[in-house]
């Protein structure tokens, strides 16, 4: 697995308090009970620490899936391809 994918997976497991077998890269916000307003803040803080990218609050609230996170970070030059 691409190193950035591993980092993102590890981060989201902690932020959303998921077990490893609950996680896949197609997860949507609606699949995760802990993807609430607190989870959004925690995710934004974690992504800034891990990838150096700062989500604006309105941008973080608008993210609806793990794919959205990857798409935004890819646009900033962070690579997630295998």
């Amino acid at each position: 697995m691409n190193e950035n994918r591993k980092k993102l997976k590890s981060l989201l497991l902690e932020v959303f308090m998921l077990n490893e077998d609950e996680f896949h890269f197609d997860l949507k916000k609606t699949d995760i009970a802990t993807w609430d307003s607190l989870g959004v803040v925690s995710m934004a803080v974690g992504i800034q620490e891990t990838f150096g990218y700062h989500f604006a609050p309105e941008q973080a609230v608008g993210i609806a899936s793990v794919s959205d996170i990857i798409e935004i970070l890819t646009e900033k030059g962070i690579r997630f391809d295998e």
Partner: protein
């Protein structure tokens, strides 16, 4: 409105005796009875609902109970609050923290803000030096966590930075300086517009556990005072965000850290560590840990286990 107006303590005696009750800590019943001409209710009891006016004289816990009492049982009561100790700033915030069994429950809303607050210089003289120090640490924890909160913004951070630079840093902790009351109230009011973080998450989680398992009754202010430094260093260890924000808003980081060092009690910290360790999985789930300025992870506990106060010297 997010601040309660200040009224002169001396003018409280002008309130109509009829319909006014004073609710106070047990230890202050004699003090209050000698100075205010109202019926006095001690903190172990609850005032009757429907009062015209309630004067609350006590610490943060009693003030928070009074806020909830007023909102839930007597919403038409006009309430003035006189804190007996600085630190919590409860007299000036729309937040109430309640103990429900082993859990701290945070309630927030404009109805919790008292109608007025007053300060007594005589009460200042009754504050023991260690409580004065812990109260100052509590105020610092509100100011710092509010400033660093990811829920804050540039304008609010600038207001908080100015407060930290110009008000908090020059104030000597551990002294009976009356100015600590107003500083604490301001710190609490400012943080209520963003949020607090890991210091409060740990404090709220371990306070009831220490009491239950270690038979150690440690107040919130004392916990926050000692947790200030390790959490500050932890947040700095996670990246450049803290240092960048201090630089951007002109807060002298070295002076601040030196101040936090003065609140740190290493013996307390080491004694509480087993409780922090056993509570860590619950601390991670605390809402306040999830809005800390740095991500708090399962392995973050290693930082706190091995924390040495001198390592982060700037």
């Amino acid at each position: 409105m997010n601040e309660s107006p200040i009224v002169d303590w001396a003018t409280l005696t002008d309130l109509p005796k009829e319909g006014t009750v004073c609710w106070t800590s047990r230890s202050l019943v004699a003090f209050v009875s000698a100075r205010l001409p109202f019926e006095v209710v001690a903190s172990i009891e609850t005032p009757r609902s429907g009062l015209a006016r309630l004067v609350v004289v006590g610490g943060g816990s009693l003030i928070d109970r009074a806020k909830v009492w007023r909102r839930e049982l007597s919403p038409d009561t006009w309430m003035v609050v006189v804190p007996s100790l600085w630190g919590s700033g409860a007299e000036n915030s729309p937040i109430a923290v309640l103990n429900e069994g082993d859990v701290k429950v945070i309630k927030m809303g404009p109805d919790f803000l008292p109608d007025a607050r007053a300060y007594s210089r005589e009460l200042t003289e009754l504050i023991p030096p260690e409580a004065a120090l812990w109260g100052a640490g509590d105020a610092w924890s509100h100011a710092l966590e509010g400033f660093l909160s990811p829920l804050s913004n540039d304008a609010l951070r600038e207001e908080m930075a100015s407060f930290i630079r110009d008000v908090l840093l020059p104030l000597e902790p551990g002294t009976g300086d009356f100015a600590w009351f107003e500083a604490s109230a301001k710190a609490c009011s400012l943080q209520s517009r963003s949020g607090v973080g890991l210091i409060h998450a740990i404090a709220h989680q371990i306070e009831p556990t220490l009491k239950r398992d270690a038979k150690e009754s440690v107040g919130h202010a004392r916990l926050c005072s000692t947790l200030l430094l390790p959490v500050f260093d932890y947040n700095r260890s996670r990246g450049s965000k803290v240092d960048d924000l201090f630089r951007k808003h002109g807060i002298p980081l070295g002076d601040c850290r030196a101040m936090l060092r003065r609140f740190f009690d290493e013996a307390d910290y080491r004694r509480w560590m087993p409780t922090i360790e056993s509570s860590w999985s619950l601390i991670l789930r605390q809402p306040l840990a999830r809005i800390n300025c740095a991500l708090v992870r399962a392995d973050s506990l290693d930082f706190f286990r091995t924390f040495l106060p001198e390592e982060g010297e700037t």
